[in-house]
């Protein structure tokens, strides 16, 4: 265990940014925080979490894949891939850190997504324990501990100091390059963790019970008459999807600029009417089916295919941002009634 005085945080960030590109959650002037490349003068936000999740750094909203040029019958393939620079992502919360495990299962299983894989290899994740969890937090439901998050390095903060524990080889290597971190006793974080756990134990969504959402009941859930009511006022926007740290669907499109064809991918949302639209033209016809897909994926299909791990980490972003507040907690609680 290492530590550094809060008054020296700037020195720490400065030293890290000499090693690699450093991102920290900082205020963006619009009453919200986002991961921002650190530069002299940038300070940590007081906000609990960023509006856009940490997945952006590994799976950006838009990414160029390759360009093509046609001349006669020949197709020329133009590689335009830029290799990401090594980076450090500081201040990731426990929920977002778990989301990487979920994204890994999608992008790192065969066939491996090399764009994502390279970023994962190049990125060092430094997590920060959650001093002030809020009412929309329910990471505990998924066995995530906001008082002791994972990551290459785990940090805790109190008024006086930042405490630092390297968990992986990547974390150790970074630590070795930061001489301003001084040794301290493992117990130093105990009072901080205890304080956090006492708040975590009082969170109002702790009673969310997801037992029973298993394979045997999948069709029962799929056919639930409740989808009609649950989806009735869904606007069909992509807010929940785009702020979600685990939503991973994307579309691949070609753009012909007259000179060449640029192939790119971009986030897509199962809430959109043209999601997975192909030549047959018969994708999910109404918002009910689109809405059902999003929640069935997170609560049933994903765990059925991934050792029971839900496609949700309880970060609470959709609870705060859905324009009509029809979020995963409401859906899960309603479906739970069907399983009784």
């Amino acid at each position: 265990m290492k530590k550094i005085a809060i008054s020296k945080l700037n020195d720490l960030f400065s030293a890290i940014s000499k090693e690699k590109v450093l991102y920290i959650p900082a205020d963006d002037g619009a009453n919200q925080a986002r991961f921002t490349p650190w530069q002299e003068g940038l300070t940590l936000t007081d906000k609990l979490n960023t509006v856009r999740s940490a997945k952006d750094l590994f799976f950006p909203q838009v990414e160029n894949l390759v360009n093509f040029k046609n001349s006669g019958k020949a197709i020329q393939i133009i590689e335009n891939r830029t290799e990401p620079q090594p980076f450090v992502l500081f201040g990731v919360r426990a929920c977002d850190c778990r989301s990487f495990d979920i994204l890994d299962r999608v992008f790192l299983s065969d066939p491996v997504d090399t764009f994502y894989k390279t970023r994962r290899e190049q990125g060092v994740v430094i997590t920060l324990a959650c001093n002030r969890p809020t009412e929309t937090c329910f990471c505990g439901v998924f066995g995530i501990d906001g008082a002791d998050p994972q990551g290459d390095v785990t940090c805790w903060m109190d008024e006086a100091a930042l405490y630092w524990r390297a968990n992986t080889e990547k974390g150790e290597a970074l630590t070795a390059a930061l001489p301003m971190l001084t040794d301290c006793a493992e117990e130093a974080i105990d009072p901080i963790a205890a304080k956090i756990r006492s708040i975590l134990s009082k969170l109002p969504l702790n009673d969310l019970d997801l037992t029973g959402f298993n394979r045997d009941r999948m069709m029962e859930l799929f056919n639930s008459p409740q989808w009609e009511d649950l989806s009735q006022s869904c606007l069909g926007c992509g807010t929940c999807t785009f702020v979600c740290p685990t939503c991973q669907c994307y579309d691949v499109q070609d753009f012909d600029d007259g000179q060449q064809v640029r192939r790119f991918r971009c986030w897509d949302s199962c809430m959109f009417s043209d999601f997975t639209m192909m030549a047959h033209g018969t994708n999910r016809p109404t918002q009910k089916e689109r809405f059902r897909q999003r929640f069935m994926h997170k609560l049933s299909y994903f765990p059925n295919n991934n050792d029971g791990i839900f496609g949700c980490v309880g970060c609470g972003r959709c609870l705060q941002k859905c324009p009509i507040h029809m979020h995963i907690v409401k859906v899960a609680k309603a479906l739970k009634e069907d399983l009784k």
């Binding site: 606007l235 926007c237 785009f242 499109q253 609870l319």
Partner: protein, 323 residues
């Protein structure tokens, strides 16, 4: 107020005026209400809520709801009633299938403002005169209600319910509002400053389409931006500012029909003040063609569809400081 609305909903359902009620449904917390159709006495008794967090404008839902057969009763706040009236004018709602109960509104509260005050872990809320008392995991906070009001409510243009079958509470009046003052500030900037302002705001756009989908004026069956054959679907932006075109085109498209209900800014997950684009158009229209309020009545012709020989022919390039 909530009890009066609940009683009214029950009465309308039981005396056969309507077979279902469109209102706001209770959430996990005091603030996460969801627009919902209530069909039974039990649902209304247990789940119907009207509170300072019932900001959602229900009028757009009536486009679909009024076509489903039977009769739906709806509660409309004054600003919602402007949207409703505008939709009637555009023949988008089947009026005969809707029973409108107008309700007064003291202004809606904004959770973002509560959170901006550092108020996290909120558990319950109470009203104590003009104060809002919030219980949180970290203690009790008291804020004057005025400090928590949504921006659109601070500059409320009218407490008048434009179209209704019956009213709960007193009919209100149009208000003196300085809602264009922020637009005037933007106009006073140099074009470079203004460009920088919008670049900063709109570069946060994640193109979730919440602003468009919630907008009562955006009621096309199929938006051109959702049509893969249109060539402008634009799922990905070429740069962080390309989204500006989407918002500017949308503002033009709803000009003369936007009632300034403010839903676009309420739902934006990135806190972009989208309503300012629409207000700019409203302000320009007022200055060029005389004061006009969309949705204020069912009959007046909107300036853009009402040509007269005396109409202004504005030239932005020559009269607005362009070179």
């Amino acid at each position: 107020m909530q009890e009066r609305l609940k009683q009214k909903a029950l009465e309308l359902l039981e005396n056969g005026t309507a077979d279902r009620i469109l209102g706001w449904k209770i959430g996990e917390f005091f603030y996460d209400l969801t627009p919902a159709v209530f069909k039974t006495r039990q649902e209304i008794q247990e789940e119907f809520v009207y509170s300072p967090f019932a900001g959602a404008n229900l009028s757009k839902y009536l486009i679909a709801e009024s076509r489903k057969g039977g009769k739906v009763a709806v509660f409309l706040k004054p600003c919602d009633s402007y949207s409703f009236t505008q939709l009637l004018k555009e023949h988008r709602i089947w009026r005969e299938n809707v029973y409108v109960v107008g309700v007064q509104c003291g202004g809606m509260c904004d959770m973002e403002k509560l959170r901006a005050k550092g108020c996290e872990g909120v558990l319950s809320v109470g009203e104590d005169g003009e104060n809002i008392v919030v219980e949180t995991l970290y203690g009790t906070n008291v804020f004057p209600r005025a400090e928590l009001l949504e921006d659109r409510c601070i500059t409320c243009k009218s407490k008048k319910v434009v179209t209704f079958d019956e009213l709960i509470g007193e009919q209100g009046t149009e208000l003196e509002s300085d809602r264009f003052s922020q637009v005037a500030q933007l106009e006073a900037m140099t074009s470079q400053e203004r460009f920088a302002f919008w670049q900063k705001e709109l570069s946060r756009c994640i193109r979730c389409n919440a602003c468009r989908n919630v907008c009562p004026a955006c009621s096309c069956e199929k938006c051109v931006f959702d049509n893969p054959g249109s060539g402008v679907r634009n799922k990905a932006a070429a740069d962080s500012f390309e989204e500006s075109l989407f918002h500017i085109i949308r503002a033009f498209h709803v000009t003369g029909r936007c009632t300034d209900c403010g839903e676009c800014s309420r739902v934006c997950p990135q806190n972009i003040p989208l309503h300012l684009l629409n207000r700019k158009m409203i302000k320009d229209m007022n200055e060029l063609y005389g004061t006009y309020q969309a949705g204020a009545d069912p009959d007046t012709k909107p300036p853009l569809t009402d040509f007269t020989l005396d109409d202004e022919e504005p030239s932005i390039v020559h009269t607005r400081g362009g070179q």
